[in-house]
Symmetry: C3
C-alpha cells in the first residue's frame, strides 16, 4: 500500500486525462439548433429532460451500491469508500471505452446518454466488487475496474450493434455480466483459509440499517435505471411503469419466502436488503416491451422468490462445493435475476408479444454476456492473483483497519484497534 497504490491511482488518472484530451469533445448541436431557429427538440433539450433520470442513476451507483455493501460490521469504510473510488475511475474509463468502440476510434461527443452509459459501465464493476468484498485490496480493484469495463464495453458493443438485441434495463449486459464476472474472479481468488465462518463476516444492528439506505435508494430509482436509455416516449414510459410494478410485486414474495425459509418464520435482513431488488433486475430486458403491467408483476414475483432461495441454498453450495465465495450474494441479486431477465425476453418474443428483437439474437446476447463475463473473469482473476499485488491476510479480511485509519471505538469491539498492522498485509503466495 505504501507507494504502489498512490502511484497506480495517479498514473491511471493521468492516463484518463490524456485519453480525454485526445478523444473527448463537447456536444455541439445547440449552435446548429440556434441557427436554424428550430422548435424541434435538440440534443440540448433532451439533455436537461434526461438529466433527472441520470441523477437518479448516479444516486444508485454511489449511494445505492455504496451503502448496500456496508452491512459488514467492520467493513463500512471500505464498502462505501472503495465503491466511490471504483466508480470515479470507472466512469472516466467507461466513457473512453464505450466512446471509442461506438465511434470506431474517432473523437466523440459527450452527451447525457454517454454520461448515463458511463455510470452504467461502473455498475458492472460494483456488482463484481460485491462478490470479492473484503478479500481484495484497492489496487486489485483499480485493475479490475480497467479490465472489466473493457470486457463490458466489448460485450455491450456486440449485443447492441452486432446482435442488435434488446436489453434496455441491461439485465444481461450489466447484471448477469457483472455477477458472473465477479463470481469467476472470486473462484480464482478462492482461499481455503477462508472456508470456515469468518469472525468479521457478519453484521451489527446499525450496519444493517446503513445497508438499508442503499437498498431503498436502489429500489426507488430502479425505474430510472431501466428507462434511462430507452427510446423517448412510449418505450421510456413502459420501462418506468413495468419496473415500478415489478419491484412492488417482488417485495411481497421476497418477504414471504424469507419468512418461509428461516428459523421460526423470522425475516432475514440479507434477504430484505437484496432480494427485494431482484424484480428490478429481472424485468430489465423486457422493461420497454408491451408486456402489460401484470406480466411485469409476475416476473418480479418470481425474481423475489428465486433470489431468496438462492441466498438460502445456492450461496452455501457455491462456497463449499464450487469453492466460490460470494460475499454479498451477487449471484442471487444480479446473476439469477439477470438470467430470468434474458429468458423472459426470449419467452416474450417467442410468444409474439414483442417484435423488438428475435429469439436467436436474445439468446446470443445472453450467451455472449455470460461467456464474455466468464472469459474476462478468468483473465482478470489470474492477473489479480499475481503475487506482486498485496491482499489482506485471512485474519484481516472484512476489516477496514488494513486500509484505513479507524477510530478507536467501534460497536462490536472496544479493543479492535490494536497495533497489529504488521500482521495485516501479506504478499500473495
Amino acid at each position: 500500500m505504501r507507494f504502489t497504490f498512490p502511484l497506480v491511482a495517479i498514473g491511471l488518472e493521468a492516463s484518463m486525462i490524456a485519453l480525454f484530451q485526445f478523444f473527448v469533445e463537447y456536444e455541439a448541436d445547440q449552435n446548429i439548433a440556434q441557427q436554424l431557429n428550430t422548435t424541434r427538440p435538440t440534443k440540448m433539450d433532451s439533455f436537461l429532460q434526461l438529466y433527472p433520470l441520470f441523477q437518479d442513476v448516479h444516486v444508485m451507483i454511489f449511494v445505492g451500491f455504496g451503502f448496500l455493501m456496508t452491512f459488514l460490521k467492520k467493513y463500512g469504510f471500505s464498502s462505501v469508500g472503495f465503491n466511490l473510488l471504483i466508480a470515479a475511475l470507472g466512469l472516466q474509463w467507461g466513457t473512453i471505452a464505450q466512446g471509442l468502440l461506438h465511434s470506431q476510434g474517432q473523437k466523440f461527443h459527450i452527451g447525457i446518454k454517454e454520461m448515463i452509459n458511463a455510470d452504467f459501465s461502473t455498475a458492472t464493476v460494483l456488482i463484481s466488487f460485491g462478490a470479492v468484498l473484503g478479500k481484495t485490496s484497492p489496487i486489485q480493484m483499480l485493475i479490475m475496474t480497467i479490465l472489466e469495463i473493457a470486457a463490458f464495453a466489448a460485450n455491450e458493443f456486440l449485443v447492441a450493434e452486432i446482435f442488435m438485441a434488446s436489453d434496455v434495463g441491461a439485465s444481461m449486459t450489466i447484471h448477469a455480466f457483472g455477477a458472473y464476472f465477479g463470481l469467476t474472479v472470486a473462484g480464482i481468488l478462492y482461499r481455503s483459509g477462508l472456508r470456515e465462518e469468518h469472525k468479521n463476516e457478519e453484521s451489527v444492528y446499525h450496519s444493517d440499517l446503513f445497508a438499508m439506505i442503499g437498498t431503498l435508494f436502489l429500489w426507488i430509482f430502479w425505474p430510472s435505471f431501466n428507462s434511462a436509455i430507452a427510446e423517448a416516449g412510449d418505450h421510456q414510459y413502459k420501462a418506468i411503469v413495468n419496473t415500478y410494478f415489478s419491484l412492488a410485486a417482488c417485495v411481497l414474495t421476497a418477504y414471504a419466502m424469507s419468512s418461509l425459509v428461516m428459523h421460526r418464520g423470522k425475516l432475514n435482513m440479507v434477504h430484505i436488503q437484496n432480494a427485494t431488488l431482484a424484480g428490478g433486475v429481472a424485468v430489465g430486458t423486457c422493461a420497454d416491451m408491451d408486456i402489460q403491467p401484470y406480466v411485469a408483476m409476475i416476473i418480479g414475483s418470481i425474481a423475489g422468490l428465486v433470489s431468496v432461495l438462492g441466498y438460502k441454498y445456492l450461496t452455501p453450495f457455491f462456497a463449499t462445493t464450487l469453492r466460490i465465495h460470494d460475499t454479498c450474494g451477487v449471484h442471487n441479486l444480479h446473476g439469477l435475476p439477470g438470467l430470468i431477465g434474458g429468458l423472459s425476453s426470449i419467452v416474450v418474443i417467442a410468444l409474439g408479444v414483442s417484435n423488438m428483437s428475435t429469439v436467436a439474437m436474445q439468446a446470443a446476447a445472453l450467451g455472449s454476456s455470460i461467456g464474455t463475463a466468464v472469459a474476462g473473469g478468468v483473465v482478470t482473476g489470474l492477473i489479480l492473483k499475481i503475487p506482486c499485488w498485496e491482499h489482506p491476510s485471512n485474519e484481516y479480511c472484512y476489516d477496514d483497519s488494513v486500509y484505513w485509519e479507524v477510530p478507536k471505538w467501534r460497536e462490536d469491539d472496544i479493543h479492535s484497534h490494536k497495533d497489529e498492522d504488521q500482521k495485516q498485509l501479506e504478499p500473495q503466495v
Copy 2:
C-alpha cells in the same frame, strides 16, 4: 408467523396480479400524438415532466417515512422494513382502488398521476402505522393496508368528485385521515399492560440520527408532495413556493417551542424530527391558492408551534386519559396540522382570497375525512383485534427480535439476543 404471514403475503400478491390483469392498461395517447404530429404536449410529455416530482414523492414514502420511524433503539429493522412492505402492497392496491372508483369499474390506464396517487394512498397507511408502531404484527399491517386504502379511496372520491373540494397537498384526505384512522385503531388495540413506560420505547444516540435521514428527505421534498397533482403551470408553481416557505418558517417556531417547553431550555429530538415537518402538512390544502408567501409562512409558523405543544401536552393526555397510545405522535405531525390545513382553507375561502372551492365544501371535506377515518379505524381495529392474528407480547413490544433475525450486537444491550423466542409471541386474548 410460521406459515400465516407467507401465505397472506403471497395470496395478496396473487390477487393484485389478477386485478391488474383485468383492469390495468398502459396509456395509449402517444400514438395518437405521433399520428397528429402535434406540438401540443401529450400525456407522454407530461409524464417525463412530472416524473422527477413523482420520484421526490417516492423518496418521501420509502426513505422519508421509513427512516423517520427508526428512532426506537430496537425497532429499526421493523420500521424501515415493514414500511417497505406496506408501501409495496399499498401502491398496487391503491392503483386498483383509486382506478376502479374513478373509472367506475372499467379498465383504466396507468399514467404518472396514477403512480403519484398510488404512492399517496400508501402514505395514509404509513401515517397510521406510526400510531401503532411496535405493538402490531406484519400480518396485521397487511390487513390494515387493504382496509385503510379502501376507505381512503372512498373518501378521496367523495372529496374530489362529489364535494369537488380543494385539497392539493392532501392535508385532509391523507394527513388528517391517516392520523385519525391510526389513532382510532390504536385506541381499539389499547393494552393496559403497556400503560407504564416501556423499557424499549426510547432511542439511542444513533437511532435518532437515522431518524433524521427520514426527517430531512421529507422536509426537502415536501414541495413536490404538495404540488405533484396540482394543475400544471401557475397552481403547481404556487404549491411549490408556498410549501417551501411554510416549511422554513415552521422550523424556526418548532425549535423555539421545543427549547421553551423542555427542561433547562434544551432541544428535544422528537420535536425536531417531527414538528419541523408540520408546516408542510398544514399548508397542503391552501398550497396552490393565491395566499401569498407570507401567509404560507404564518400557517407554517403556527403548525410548528402547535405540533410541539401537542408532543409535550396532548400525547401524554391521549395515552393516559383517552387510552390511545400514539407511538410516533402522528397526531402532532399529521392530525393537528391536517386540521390546521383544512381550517386554513375555510378561512382563506371565506375571506374571498381564493374561489377554488366553497366554505361548505371544504368543511364537508374535512368532516368526511375525519368521519371516514374514524369509522374505517373502528372497523379495522375490531378486525385486527380478532385473536387469530398474532401480535407481540407486552414484553417484546418495540423489539425487532420477534420478527427478525437480529445480529448479536446491538448498541444498547450486548445480551439482547437471548433464546427467549417462545415468550415473544402470544395469541391475543
Copy 3:
C-alpha cells in the same frame, strides 16, 4: 438558552414574515403567456425544468452539509439539527437580502432562480458553520446567519452586477467567501483553552459513516449546483459535464494523496469525506466555459491533491501558529479550492479560451470575495464575542448534551449523560 434562544428565533421569524409581506410577490408571467398563446418557453415552463436541479441543490444543503458534519462522535444532533435551523432561517433572509439588492428596494417576484439563490446564500453560512462547529451556541449561529448573508448578498451584487464577473458555480462568491468568513470568525473566537486536543473532537466508526451520507449526496449533486443558475442550453450543459468529470478526477488524486501522506499508507476518513469534493468547488468558476473536459479533470486533480495536503499540513499550522481552529477543515474543502477556482478562471481568460469575462474583473471578484469575507468576519466575530451570548464551556465543546436532551446510550461512553448541566454553559469572558 432558557428564554433568549426561543425569543430570538421567534423574533427573527416574525421579522421574516413582515419582510415577505412588504416585498415578496409571486411570479405573474404565466397569465401573460396564456393570453399570448405563445410557444416561447415562459418562466413557468423553465420553473418546472429547473425544479429538479433546485431539488438537487436542496438535498445538498440539508442532507449534504448536514450529514457531512456528523463525523464528530458526540455532536451529530447539533451538526444536522443546527444545519437545518441555519438553513431554514438563511433561505428566508437570503430571499429578502438578494431580492432587495437586485430590485433596488422594490417589491420582487419569487421564481425558481430566486429559490436556488436562496439555497445558495445559506451555503455560505453552512460553510462558515463548519469552521466554528462545536464551539458556538445556536443563538450565535442565528446572528451569524443574518450578518453573513447580508455580507454575501452585497458581495454577490458587486461581483455579478458591477464587475460582471463570471462565477457560475460560485467558487469565489460562496466557497472562498464562506471559508474565509468562517476562518475569520473562528480566529476572533479563538480560545487558548481549546488549544490541546479535545477529548470530544474525534469520530467513532458509525459517525464517520453518517458523514459519508453527506459526502456522497454532495458529490453526486454537485453538477446541479454548478449549473443551476447557468444560462440555459450550452452553458448549462458544459457546467454539468465539466463538474461531473472534475469530481471524478478529484477522487483519484485525493485517495492517492491520502494514502501517501498517512502513516503506513492508510487512508484517512477526513480526507475522503472532504477532499473528494474539492474538484466540484475548484471547477465552479470555469464550469460553463469552453475549457474541454480534460482541463476540468486537471483542475479537479489539482484540487484533490491540494485539499489533502491542506488537511495534513495547513490545518495544524492554522490551529497552532495562526490561532485559527477550523473544526471541519473548511479551508481545505472550500477555501483553497475556491481560490483555485478563481485563479483558474483568470488563467483560462488570459489564455483566450473564454471571453465570458476579463482578467481584471475576475481578479476583482476574487479580491472582493475574500475582502468582504474577512471584513464581514471581523465584524461578526466581534459581535459574537459580546459576553451576553452564551457559548459552551471548554469542557463541553463538541458535545450535544449542552443543547439537546441526549439519550442515555451513546457509543463512546455509557456514562456520558451525567447531571452536570450547570457546568456546561458559561457566559463568555
